[in-house]
Amino acid sequence: MRREVPLFITAIVGISFVIQYFIPHPPFSNLSDWFSDWFSIIQACAIVLGALNLMKISFLKVKDKKPDWGYAAVIIVSFLFITIIGLSEGEGFRLPGTKFDWIYNFIFIPLSATMFSILAFFVASASYRAFRARNFEATLLLIAAFFVMLGRVPIGDLLVWFMPEGYQLSNLASWVMNVPQAAGQRAIMIGIGLGVVSTSLRVILGIERSHIGGGE
């Protein structure tokens, strides 16, 4: 019962979603719309579990006075702060001028945008330490990267000022992107497509079952 029902559900639902691709008639044609709605609702319920888990860990940290428990308290306070404000704000919580919008603009955005921009530093550090021309393949990777990086900024064309119009680094970068790059992308895409097909089939057939507590 605990194992069979989930396997059965997976198989039936999976097969129906394959079939809906070929049958444009209701109820099959509604399946994907329904799924998107249901998934949204399940997600909304599941985050309760996640949030409670986060609160539990943080609370235990504070209670047991573990190292860094002060930060755990900050997590709890900031979580409650935005949740209470957001939930009391009503449907239009995101509209300009609301308190939630203020939190979003002056706390959330600076944090996430900065975290995102820190990537630039990591890129530089990785290129200094990790991108080595260890072998021919790695060298090829670096050369392609050089051409693209140079060709995509004005300074690239400046470096090869002696080349005629149409044969500058920007043209070369365009060529790399449109030709060998696209070919490689295509091979990867086809491979991924087959991988997805095979993984999905294994899941639908119940051969792959670990994610629902499976095992033989």
Partner: protein
């Protein structure tokens, strides 16, 4: 933008940047704020957009939504250890639907469309245009054709990469490397743009030093 908001934003920005120096209390504080705020942000968003917007508002008109709500309820049963195993049902549903949907979408868009797009005449600019391509186009056509083929060869699992097959796989990996190199270049471009945007905030919007 009032003074307090601006300084708060700048304080948080610099707090994150300080991680580059090393893990420190300032970073830990901003990290904790970030975790709390973002988790709360998603709780609020999912409540209003998904639960309220999708279910609560339309539950009268769309009876099927109750099935979703039922699955959501089963999910919450995890909180009661005795019946927690029931949450596998909605999981099984999601996994099944995802597999079914992805199977066909990827089959069509990634396999069929891409194979068809690679079928092209090598000495022409398009199908049925006659023998009209210049040298550059012919080269490009050959490279795309050859690159796609050898790239696929690399992914074969049931043959050791040896002999002629190994040569094909080797050339395939060259194409994959060019692809990754181009991706790397574009990623550098992207990341640097974001950093520039952030520096523009600090020195432009906040300190007013640049225009």
């Amino acid at each position: 933008m009032d003074h307090f908001s601006l300084w708060l934003a700048a304080f948080l920005t610099l707090g994150i940047i300080s991680f580059l120096y090393k893990d420190n209390p300032w970073y830990k504080l901003t990290e904790a704020i970030f975790i709390g705020i973002s988790a709360g942000y998603w709780v609020v968003t999912l409540y209003w957009d998904n639960f309220y917007g999708k279910f609560w508002v339309n539950k009268g008109e769309e009876p099927t939504l109750w099935i979703g709500a039922f699955f959501g309820f089963l999910m919450l049963l995890r909180l009661i250890p005795k019946v927690g195993w029931l949450s596998r049902w909605p999981l099984a549903f999601i996994v099944g639907a995802t597999s079914g949907l992805w199977l066909m979408n990827y089959f069509a868009s990634n396999i069929m469309v891409q194979v068809q797009a690679t079928i092209m005449p090598l000495f022409s600019t398009g199908y049925g245009t006659g023998f009209d391509a210049d040298f550059a186009t012919i080269v490009a056509n050959f490279v795309i054709f050859f690159g796609t083929l050898t790239g696929l060869v690399y992914f074969f699992f049931s043959k050791e990469h040896k002999g002629a097959f190994g040569v094909g796989a080797k050339i395939g990996i060259f194409f994959l490397m060019i692809t990754f190199g181009a991706s790397f270049g574009y990623t550098v471009m992207s990341r640097m743009s974001l950093l520039i945007g952030r520096i523009d905030f600090l020195f432009g919007d906040w300190l007013g030093m640049i225009q």
